[in-house]
Subunit: 267 residues, 2 copies
DNA sequence: GAACGTAGGGTTGTCAACAACTGAACACAT
DNA sequence: ATGTGTTCAGTTGTTGACAACCCTACGTTC
């Protein structure tokens, strides 16, 4: 009997034997979109930088068609800006964006603790283990003074939170919001910086969850997001080359007409 | 002096004279995406219907390129599903989606009252006037037993709420959530139906806002969304042709592997 | 009679070429 | 010197065509 084929523990060995898992074939557009998101997250496509699509397509080894389709996706997510006939640019986040993003996160993330604690005890343990791992990653990164790694672990921690929150739509939205949070860092700071407070804050999250205290989790999360905004906005924007704003300006230099609240692109 | 050129009231006459408003040129992709969204909202692209892209492109009078780009946008918004090589299909909403959507709305909309009431008094009056207009539209529609018109006014009411809530991201997200709500109706009911309770519920919203009572607004909104879910799920799904599910199924008929929460497409 | 293998129609995914547009540089007139 | 008009290179927006692929239906074999 190969009913317990691999040595993996309970969770992953739930896969049936004798029935092959379907081959996961993602479309080219998916792949490109993922690649672009990665590039945005790791900073190889910095905010405001205007890349030509021919160049990008060549780098990715695809033609312009699929690339353009992927670009539209990231545009819908609000990560990219496509000014008419001027190539693409990664969105530059303004202080207003920082507040906007964190306000939205504050509507959602505090509630996630409750949702996770509402899950069956077995799953709950898994979640806690996963989140604990991310916190350890953060601690290691802090010790090595590796701001990049710290940031990545931070992303994964909150991604996990959203994924286990149980809502497809929410997870998708949070994924975007987190990338945008990263973009805020890029837009506000010159370089990655290690925020020392970050780690104890996240240790406290896991503690609260382990104690089953949704209330405390909620409070902590609100405080964390609040602190995050202050950290991001404390650093003056300095003299950054803020190309996106200029590119975004469909309205040359006229103050936005007040009678129409129009979203930058589509929707 | 033509400083007050038109007879319009204070709000819109804020436009400067002697300086022309810039010509608003939206890209073709934007136009197509808008058109598609419209078609989804008004039901001319019903959930599950599988249209060929050549046919669609012909109808819209564009070539397949821009159409495909627009499709990617709607896909990112979660309104469309693009199974590999099988055309496009409007997403069919399941009962789980109904709960998901309304849970998310319940995180956001109750808070909007507070945000609107926090605005300067002048704006507040404008908002109330606008929302009042929508409610009147709803009342007229109810009197004429016009479910379609009622639904449209409902959408505009909540769109307005989100727009005046003051967050770009939130307005965008809510716009999508509202279209999805409409899709829920299409997916659950055979035809539009007039929900009689809807109108008094919305009258109460405006009343609460007029009274400056954010607390009451919050309670009312939660109750409304709750009722909405019950209304939608009360109707048994009946024997609907549910094509999307079959198309969506990347995994032929194996129960979702538990170790990976994977979103249907991209992100 | 059921399952397998095979051909056909039609659709999508990708590509490369063309046309339209933009921004910058330069010359010229006021 | 400032501003206007023109030219030009480079880029994007759009299109049509080709190849790859999926689904269906039919014929064949056991």
């Amino acid at each position: 009997m190969s009913t317990r084929s691999s040595g993996l523990s309970g969770l992953t060995s739930a896969r049936q034997v004798g029935r092959l898992a379907p081959v996961r074939r993602t479309s080219t557009v998916d792949l490109i979109a993922d690649r672009l998101r990665e590039a945005v997250v790791d900073g190889s496509l910095p905010p405001g930088a205007a890349l030509g699509e021919a160049e990008l397509a060549f780098q990715l080894g695809v033609s312009r068609g699929p690339l353009r389709e992927a670009m539209q996706r990231l545009t819908a997510e609000g990560l990219l800006v496509i000014p008419r006939r001027r190539g693409l640019a990664v969105r530059t986040m303004t202080p207003e964006d920082v507040r906007d993003i964190h306000w939205l996160r504050a509507r959602i993330e505090p509630e996630l603790g409750r949702r996770i604690l509402a899950r069956p005890i077995a799953e709950r343990k898994t979640v806690l283990a996963e989140l604990g791992t991310e916190v350890k990653r953060m601690q290691r990164a802090l010790k090595k003074d590796d701001a990049r790694a710290l940031g990545d672990a931070y992303l994964d921690f909150h991604r996990g939170l959203a994924a286990w929150g149980g809502s497809i739509r929410l997870a998708r939205m949070m994924a975007t919001l987190l990338i945008e949070t990263r973009l805020c860092t890029f837009s506000m700071y010159e370089h990655f910086e290690v925020a020392v407070d970050l780690v104890p804050e996240h240790v406290a999250f896991v503690d609260a969850l382990a104690a089953g205290d949704a209330e405390r989790f909620e409070t902590l999360m609100c405080a964390h997001l609040d602190a995050e905004v202050r950290r991001l906005l404390a650093e003056p924007v300095a003299a950054k080359v803020d190309d996106t704003d200029r590119l975004l300006a469909e309205t040359p230099d006229e103050p936005q007409p007040l009678d129409r609240l129009d979203l930058p692109e589509g929707i």
